[in-house]
């Protein structure tokens, strides 16, 4: 069974700080997605990365897919309170099924 492990599970930082969260697996994924889920809502897609080593930027968020396509990171620069939420990564396995991580719960304090 393929697993995606996200770390840290929980992160609480002050507004303005930078942070990085990780998504790791021993398996190769054809693509990987990052979602943000706010309390009481469903996940919302942030980005899809497909190529090993790919870097995508979404305003203050930088996503990187590992060269071997087994891991990914999400870096947030100058975090804002609006970044608070649960960040989920999901990888597409060889059967095109989405395998989900358990998420990183991020709290940005004012």
């Amino acid at each position: 069974t393929q697993l995606l492990e996200q770390s840290p599970q929980f992160l609480s930082i002050q507004e303005g700080e930078n942070l990085t969260v990780y998504c790791n697996s021993s398996s190769v994924f054809s693509s990987l997605q990052w979602y943000r889920q706010e309390p009481g809502e469903g996940p919302v897609l942030l980005v899809t990365v497909v190529t090993g080593g790919e870097v995508k930027k979404l305003k203050r968020l930088t996503f990187q897919f590992g060269d071997a396509r087994k891991d990914s990171s999400l870096h947030i620069t100058a975090a804002q309170t609006g970044d608070t939420g649960l960040y989920l990564c999901a990888g597409a396995d060889s059967n095109y099924q989405l395998i989900w991580g358990a998420g990183t719960k991020l709290i940005i304090k004012p």
């Binding site: 693509s31 809502e41 469903g42 996940p43 497909v50 999901a90 989405l98």
Partner: protein, 118 residues
């Protein structure tokens, strides 16, 4: 208008009861899904329908039965509810069957239905 809407949002029911969760999408998508998110936040796919046909049926107890009367609706019926069924159930949709490599084929999720079995 909400793109993927599901009802009810909250449901508390007793063990042994039968309940349904309804889902509708107004995006014109061909594919709809049901996911279960457990207390540890893991999202697991349960079912996927494409053009009203079942295409994914993960290892889910047969007490769970999806029904798709048309492309815009995918309802989830659960018989003989058990304590372990307590979770958040998300309906989702995408234009085509998700294969993970088309950047335009985004999966859109509903807001979730919180099911508590007591």
């Amino acid at each position: 208008d909400t793109a993927v809407s599901q009802t009810p949002k909250y449901l508390v029911t007793q063990m042994g009861n039968d309940k349904s969760i309804k889902c509708e999408q107004n995006l014109g998508h061909d594919t709809m899904y049901w996911y279960k998110q457990d207390s540890k936040k893991f999202l697991k796919i349960m079912f996927s329908y494409n053009n009203k046909e079942l295409i994914i049926n993960e290892t889910v107890p047969n007490r769970f039965s999806p029904k798709s009367p048309d492309k815009a609706h995918l309802n989830l019926h659960i018989n003989s509810l058990e304590l372990g069924d307590s979770a958040v159930y998300f309906c989702a949709s995408s234009q085509e069957v998700w294969t993970g490599i088309e950047s335009g084929n985004t999966i859109y999720f509903g807001e979730g239905s919180w099911l508590t079995v007591v």
